[in-house]
Structure formats: structure tokens, C-alpha cells
Symmetry: C2
Subunit: 227 residues, 2 copies
DNA sequence: AATAATTTTTAGTCTTGACTAAATATTGTT
DNA sequence: AACAATATTTAGTCAAGACTAAAAATTATT
């Protein structure tokens, strides 16, 4: 008893989760992704990672040399990008159509991203109007796995009197997102830096026509598009 | 590494598939559902069924006495109805929002029905306008697991000159559904019996202002609501 | 009622994906 | 260069869920 009919390439949920983790880690690390890094990201043990990494390597999704970490192959990267694409499209769906807030979508999208159906994802994309970014401002890969990133800067890098549009976050934990909500900070909002405090790196900003003081921690987790 | 956070009761996909199978079989059989019947429905082996049935029994989802078949407990029935509810709501979504035809929805809904999220299913229900029937005319259980069936009759039971509205099918294989599509037979269409042939039990019907001859096999797989 | 046919269960095996503990590589430090 | 610390892999287990083959129970047939 198992799903999987005609479909060209099928990977297990577990394999997909590993691919996605490696994909995300590669973006940051730029060189080989270590076993330990994967283990930490997936909250599993290094030995389990070694097992899986050998399997993914046999399936030509990654390049793996013992003790050397892994790199996605072109095929692996495309596969991973497709999972990320699904994840982010579902997030858009949940927020735009089903009244989820941006801090509630992650767990559900984590499940939905594993649904296998070409048509489903194509139609969903079209139904949502071909969105380019998810509710956290992260770019949605196109159906070839390419993503166009916009030039975004951390709020902390803005100079006094500069302003920008809020376009994303680094930390997308629900705690942080709920905190932003409480402060009235959401995607698309204009933010102007009124003052930068040297002694604690906090910034004073203008948003929603109100003055707000923002800690360094917040300012280094919020992306804006300069203008 | 596994999902499953706060949620009250969590069952594996496999457990859910068994529950659903037993639920469907109970509707037909009315008495205890046999191991073999479950095996056939799930295209698995009887020995595998025995294993799972013992597990479900321990979890109080079913009553199981060796060699006696199984019955859903109240809890089990509610759980199963909820899976069916999710399956059918997703089918409605696929057809109404994502341009799937009624013969394409099953495999995808089979996957989507296992997504765990209270809010998701509530919001989906609301987004779809609280539908009562899926694209095949099957009733959608409410959030307490109750379903109100409408009185429907097989087309084959209609007398000459009687008419009814097409409200459902027994066989929901894509072959049958595509055949119906080709003949212009869809849910909601009015059908009038013009003639009944005794020697092969075929019926001559009026639909879409056209006369059509329908074999016995079709007539015994199509539900209408008499009027 | 006895035997044959069928159904169901048990016992043992396999695969996937996790784990622990031990062994081996690599890296960092003096 | 040698040793310590850390990272990685190997070897051996485990649970879930499937399987086959054999045993046991039930049902059907005479």
C-alpha cells in the first residue's frame, strides 16, 4: 500500500526535509554543508545525518565525500527549490485566503510542502496570482527553481533620516513575528530612521505616523528595501 | 525529528487510512468488518491488517475480537469521519478553486486529508462556503462527524417518465467519471427516463435536451434525487 | 459429525529512518 | 610534532509497517 503512481521522481518526506535543510544551509555557508550543521537544523543526530546523506548521494541529489560535508547537485538543488516553492506558495495561500497570520503558517506549510501533484502546485500558483514572495518576504522560486532576490538591507544599516519599505525578516519565529505585529510592523510598511543610539545600537523610527524605539536585536532581524 | 506539537490526538497516515477504510466498509456491511475486506480495500495483505487492527484496538479506536472482525468505537468513528470530512472538503477546493475535474481529485485529496491543523480545516470549510457535498455528490461530515444524507435513488430504479436530478455516483473511478463527462452527465443535471428496455436493462433518457441510451451498468452506478 | 476450504492469526523477516556507543578523522593548541 | 578536542562515521538496535509462510480457527460441504 503506497501512493506514488505515474510520477517521475519521488522522494520520501524525510529525504525532502534533508534536501531542504541542505538547500537553506548552502545559501548561508557557501561552502560544503557539514553533517553537524544538518543535524542541528533538523534536530536530529549526526549519525542519522550520515546515513541519510549516503542515501541522497546514491540518488545523485548531493555530492558527498566522507568527512568533507555535502553540496547539492544541480538536480538536488532543483528538487530542493521545488520543495521551498511549494512551502512558500502554501504560506501565501494560508495568509491570503485562509486568514492565517504570518506567525501561524510555518507548521502547516511544513506538511503541505510534501504533497505530490504537479497540477496542484501549478494551479495554486495561478490561483494566487503568481506571487513572488511569501508572507515573510522570502522569494518564491519559479518552476525551474530560480529565484530573483531583491536588494534588501537590514534596518540596522540605514543611516539617520534614511527610510525604506519593510520587505522581510531573518528570524521568522512566531515570537518575533507576533512582536512585530504588536508594534504595527508588517510587510510593506514604510520605516524612517529618526535617530540611532550609539551606546546600545537601538534605533528610533517613524512608522504608521508614530515614533517607535527599536532594539538592536530587532533592527538586525528586519529587512527593508532602501529608497 | 517529527512534527506533532501540541495537538490532542495524533495518528499516523497509515492508521488514518485503516480507520477510513473501516469507516467506509461499515457503511456497507452494517456488521463487523472482516480482516480480508480491509486487506482488499487497502490493497494490502491480511496479515498486515491483523497487526494494525491490534494496534488500533489498543488505542480504543475499534473493537476487535480475534477472528470476529472489527467495529469502530464512537471515538474511532468520529476520528474517521473527520478524515473523510477533510478529504471531501479538499476535493471541493480542488474542483471549485483549482480547476480540477471530478475525476482528478481523488489522489491529491488522499494526501491532503492527512494534514494536521484544526484551523486549516475550519478556515477551508468557511472559505468554501460550508459545502455539504463533495464533487461526486457524497456528503461532507460536519465537524462533529455527523452527515445528513439526502434520499437518493439509483437511476435504474426510476420508472418510465419519472425524472430526477443527478446527485451522485457509486463508482467514482476516473474511467467512469470521464465517461459521464463525455456523455454530458454531471451533478445537478436533470434526467428523465423515456424508455426502459427489458432484455438488457438499458434505459433511454433525456438529458441536456438530448436523447441518450444508458447501459444497465451506468444506470446502477448513478444516483438521482427523485422529483 | 467429519473433512475440506477459507479466513485469520502468528512467527519471523525486511526496509526506512531514527537512535546510542564506540571507533576513526580532522582540527586546534601547545 | 604530539596531544587534546571536536566532528564524523561505523556498528549494532529499535519501532513502524509492510511482507511470506506456516499454524490455527472458522465456515462450508458432504
Amino acid at each position: 500500500m503506497y501512493l506514488c503512481g505515474i510520477i517521475k521522481e519521488m522522494f520520501s518526506q524525510s529525504e525532502e526535509n534533508y534536501l531542504k535543510a541542505i538547500y537553506h544551509l548552502e545559501i548561508v555557508s557557501s561552502k560544503g554543508v557539514t553533517t553537524n550543521a544538518i543535524a542541528k537544523k533538523l534536530e536530529t543526530k549526526a549519525s542519522s545525518v550520515t546515513d541519510m546523506v549516503q542515501k541522497l548521494s546514491e540518488k545523485e541529489l548531493i555530492i558527498y565525500k566522507k568527512y568533507q560535508g555535502v553540496t547539492l547537485t544541480v538536480f538536488g538543488k532543483k528538487t530542493a527549490a521545488n520543495i521551498v516553492r511549494k512551502h512558500r506558495l502554501w504560506e501565501v495561500f494560508l495568509v491570503e485566503k485562509l486568514n492565517f497570520s504570518w506567525d501561524e503558517v510555518h507548521d502547516v506549510a511544513e506538511q503541505l510542502e510534501h504533497i505530490k501533484s504537479q497540477k496542484l502546485i501549478q494551479e495554486l500558483d495561478s490561483f494566487l496570482g503568481f506571487p513572488t514572495h511569501d508572507p515573510h518576504g522570502d522569494p518564491i522560486p519559479d518552476d525551474k527553481g530560480n529565484l530573483k532576490t531583491i536588494e534588501k538591507s537590514l534596518l540596522s544599516t540605514l543611516a539617520k533620516n534614511e527610510s525604506g519599505i519593510c520587505v522581510g525578516v531573518i528570524d521568522s519565529s512566531s515570537e518575533f513575528l507576533q512582536f512585530l505585529d504588536k508594534k504595527g510592523i508588517t510587510l510593506g510598511k514604510q520605516i524612517t530612521v529618526l535617530e540611532k543610539e550609539d551606546f546600545d545600537d537601538s534605533v528610533s523610527i517613524l512608522i504608521n505616523d508614530k515614533k517607535l524605539s527599536i532594539s538592536q536585536k530587532i533592527a538586525t532581524n528586519l529587512f527593508v528595501k532602501k529608497r
